[in-house]
């Protein structure tokens, strides 16, 4: 054991950017750096917060695009926020006929070969990342894997299970039913769930209650200064508005949002409420009056926008933790969610800070309610701000991670 420690220290000293100030931690995630994506942003913020406590490195790919996995960055050593990032090459882009692999793996009579082909086709196909984990993974005291679904986690976690902690960011979707994912949820030393709803869903599916776990999530940094008037002036927004922030695409429920909004406005023209969309659009945004697409905004603009909205709308069904929903609450605004999303509806209920719709009519009713009675929105928003301050703070998140990692080390050293 002592020998192993000496060897480990020697290797740590050789590592670029490695220091001997604390135990070592490798973070594995499909993309890293200036990339969109909730799980990726989550990983980066956790890395920044854990940095003072560990000799930390990131293992990821050289791609920023989850739809194609094209190699748009240089493979090799990189630095992000002062942290060493090892970028491994994606050896083939996502198959053009990926949908076919999906259909084969998700149909009733599929085979194990269909599952394996799906995982490779989904990517990012980076076998060198696996080779690195195979050869060097055990030099790190712990390895933190973000997102259960992608190749680096599915095939990488089983190479270092005795030191692996998983942040699944899981939600109900076809892929999670594949047998290939069972080891991902049974083999790690610990699991850091985002929400109670996520944990309940995983336990029900996998029966892996035995694996040590905590509900960790993330912390929300709230800027002290938020100025709705500045946002309105800069972007020429007048009157009450509903706000959506995030990727605009089919999987995010954007089409339903457009349809619900347009139906409401058509049936109730008296309420002059616009729908402001912030984020990159993967699908066409309807050129209808009332719908304003601003593209990506910087952090200050985003918080100004959040501060001024009548309500934040989150129509996505597939969320394990919606950071921007937590931010809307932190800004003191109410949230409108789709009642079919167990995580969002569950959180809105627990926070007492949101309203859930199941039909277009309910969507319209909620919008009317919130615009007619601004006091209600303020009350819900305050309750949301309390919920976030109670649960999603960095000191609590960091402490919970430190506890999980300490448990991993204790078992390895025993």
């Amino acid at each position: 054991m002592r020998l192993a420690r000496v060897r480990h220290a020697a290797r740590a000293a050789r590592r670029p950017g490695g220091d001997l100030s604390g135990p070592s931690l490798l973070v594995v995630v499909q993309r890293y750096g200036d990339v969109p994506g909730g799980a990726e942003a989550h990983a980066r913020s956790v890395v920044q917060r854990l940095r003072p406590h560990f000799a930390i490195e990131v293992a990821t790919t050289n791609s920023t695009d989850y739809l194609t996995w094209k190699s748009d960055l240089t493979a090799g050593l990189d630095k992000v926020d002062g942290v060493t990032v090892r970028r491994f090459p994606v050896e083939r882009p996502r198959a053009w006929n990926f949908k076919l692999y999906e259909r084969r793996a998700f149909r009733g009579g599929h085979t194990l070969d269909d599952e394996r082909a799906f995982i490779d086709a989904q990517g990012p196909y980076a076998p060198e990342l696996l080779d690195f984990l195979y050869r060097r993974g055990r030099d790190y005291d712990h390895v933190l894997f973000f997102t259960y679904i992608y190749y680096p986690t599915v095939l990488g976690l089983p190479l270092v299970p005795e030191r692996a902690v998983l942040v699944p960011t899981a939600h109900e979707e076809s892929a999670i039913g594949l047998a290939a994912y069972k080891p991902v949820f049974h083999a790690p030393r610990a699991i850091a769930y985002n929400t109670e709803e996520e944990r309940r869903m995983v336990w029900r599916r996998f029966r892996n209650e035995r694996v040590s776990n905590e509900i960790v999530g993330v912390g929300i940094d709230v800027p002290a200064e938020r100025n709705a008037a500045r946002f309105r002036e800069k972007h020429g927004i007048t009157g009450p508005y509903l706000l959506y922030v995030g990727r605009i695409g089919v999987s995010k429920g954007s089409r339903e949002l457009f349809a619900n909004y347009e139906r409401w406005r058509a049936s109730d023209p008296a309420h002059d409420v616009s729908l402001v969309l912030v984020g990159d659009a993967e699908i066409a945004v309807p050129k209808k009056s009332g719908i304003v697409h601003l593209g990506r905004l910087d952090e200050r603009d985003k918080w100004d926008a959040l501060a001024g909205c009548a309500a934040f709308v989150m129509p996505s069904l597939l969320e394990s933790l919606s950071l921007v929903t937590l931010e809307a609450w932190a800004a003191g605004r109410p949230v409108i969610v789709d009642g079919r999303s167990p995580v969002l509806a569950g959180m809105a209920r627990r926070a007492g800070a949101g309203l859930a719709y199941r039909t277009s009519a309910e969507f319209a009713e909620i919008c009317e309610l919130l615009t007619d009675d601004p006091g209600l929105g303020d009350r819900l928003g305050r309750s949301g701000a309390d919920f976030v301050a109670r649960t999603y703070t960095w000191p609590r998140v960091v402490e919970t991670y430190l506890d999980l990692f300490a448990e991993v080390r204790a078992r390895l050293a025993a």
């Binding site: 194990l112 190479l159 270092v160 005795e162 049974h186 083999a187 892996n208 025993a414």
Partner: protein, 383 residues
């Protein structure tokens, strides 16, 4: 309860420690449960050549589902194995090794994925073969792993890194196996049960003819099992010759299939394979049973010797057999060079050591004791 047992080979005619254990367990559990076995159509563990008919059959109360092995073991397997065990190699080499080793049985794996959830518990035998290494990860939430592991090179390979973190519980053959697995995989948090084995009472036998034949020449020292270098019988023979040259008396009798050259001497007798009746007659007639092997996962022959009150001498290099001997206080272990002294010590106390062994086996290997341990294991995993 519906219980499935997965094992690489199965049947009355299959020779092999873990396979025999699996069959015993299937029949014990079948007395109070609905038990099925998922296995291959192979009889031979090297070639995996087809032997049994694919499909369903009954072994007494046990329903046996046999799946086809696709392909036989590659003639270059040994080279591939040497490469992954002892030379510089890659992750993919280790992954490929598992399928090359076989028995590659895709139908069995698909069966587990599709039908696994219809069983309350699934017991997997032998960590090393593909039906377990690739099958258990498909049903970890209801799986027990009866690993039959010993300290060998393959235990370090990639396919097993996660395997030993996945089952809901472990069944170990001995406390030594448990300690090895815990030390290697740091998985003490997974519950486990040391199963050992249950034994039938020994059959009728007559030790007198063997006694009359060998007694005039001094002590009868028996080795029972495969006569091969793999079982360290070459070391035993060298130790024996040294013992004789040092003035020791007696005969070394080897009972088992000979897979090595045996020196032609009056004091070393090779009987080849013997009947069950002769086996127990020899065990009872012997003054001591010797087991020189370094790699035994249970050493069932020790238990059989103790059943008839014969003490045992085992290699100190093997933690499992020396652990068994210490627990039973039924013999001694020896280091190379210390054979003659250890032999003399055991012979001097033959009756006391043999009796102690007999008492131990009666307590540990009686069916009710074994059934209780088995039931505890099944309870740990059952859904």
């Amino acid at each position: 309860m519906r219980i499935l047992i997965v094992v690489q080979r199965y049947g009355a005619e299959v020779v092999g420690g873990s396979e025999s254990h699996a069959r015993v367990v299937a029949h014990r559990l079948a007395m109070v449960n609905e038990v099925e076995v998922a296995t291959t159509n192979a009889l031979d563990y090297w070639s995996w050549a087809p032997h049994f008919a694919v499909g369903e059959s009954m072994d007494g109360p046990v329903r046996v589902r046999r799946f086809a092995v696709t392909g036989v073991r590659s003639p270059t397997f040994k080279d591939a194995e040497r490469h992954v065990l002892f030379e510089r190699h890659t992750r993919s080499d280790e992954e490929a090794w598992l399928a090359m080793q076989g028995p590659h049985t895709p139908g069995l794996l698909e069966f587990l994925r599709r039908e696994g959830k219809s069983y309350n518990a699934i017991l997997f035998y032998t960590y090393i073969y593909e039906p377990t290494a690739a099958g258990l990860p498909l049903v970890p939430e209801r799986a027990a792993l009866i690993s039959t592991a010993h300290d060998e090179e393959p235990l370090r390979l990639v396919p097993y890194r996660a395997l030993f973190q996945l089952p809901r519980a472990f069944g170990f053959l001995t406390p030594e196996e448990r300690d090895l697995v815990h030390a290697r995989f740091r998985n003490e948090h997974i519950p486990s049960e040391v199963l050992g084995i249950g034994l039938e009472p020994p059959p009728w036998r007559d030790p007198e003819p063997f006694r009359e034949h060998y007694a005039p020449r001094g002590p009868l020292v028996l080795y029972l099992g495969q006569v091969s270098e793999g079982k360290a019988v070459d070391e035993l023979i060298a130790d024996w010759i040294a013992h004789r040259e040092g003035g020791g008396a007696g005969s070394l009798v080897l009972a088992g299939t000979a897979r090595m050259a045996i020196p032609e001497r009056d004091d070393i007798v090779s009987l080849g394979r013997v009947s069950d009746e002769d086996k127990y007659a020899l065990l009872e007639a012997a003054d001591v049973l010797v087991l020189p092997s370094h790699l035994e996962s249970l050493g069932i022959v020790l238990l059989e010797a103790w059943q008839v009150g014969t003490p045992c001498l085992v290699s100190a290099k093997n933690k499992v057999t020396s652990g068994q001997v210490a627990r039973a206080a039924g013999g001694a272990s020896y280091d190379r060079g210390g054979f003659a002294n250890a032999l003399a010590a055991v012979l001097a106390e033959r009756e006391r050591l043999g009796e102690s062994g007999r008492v131990y086996v009666e307590a540990e290997c009686a069916w009710p004791a074994f059934d209780t341990r088995l039931e505890q294991l099944v309870d740990l995993v059952a859904t």
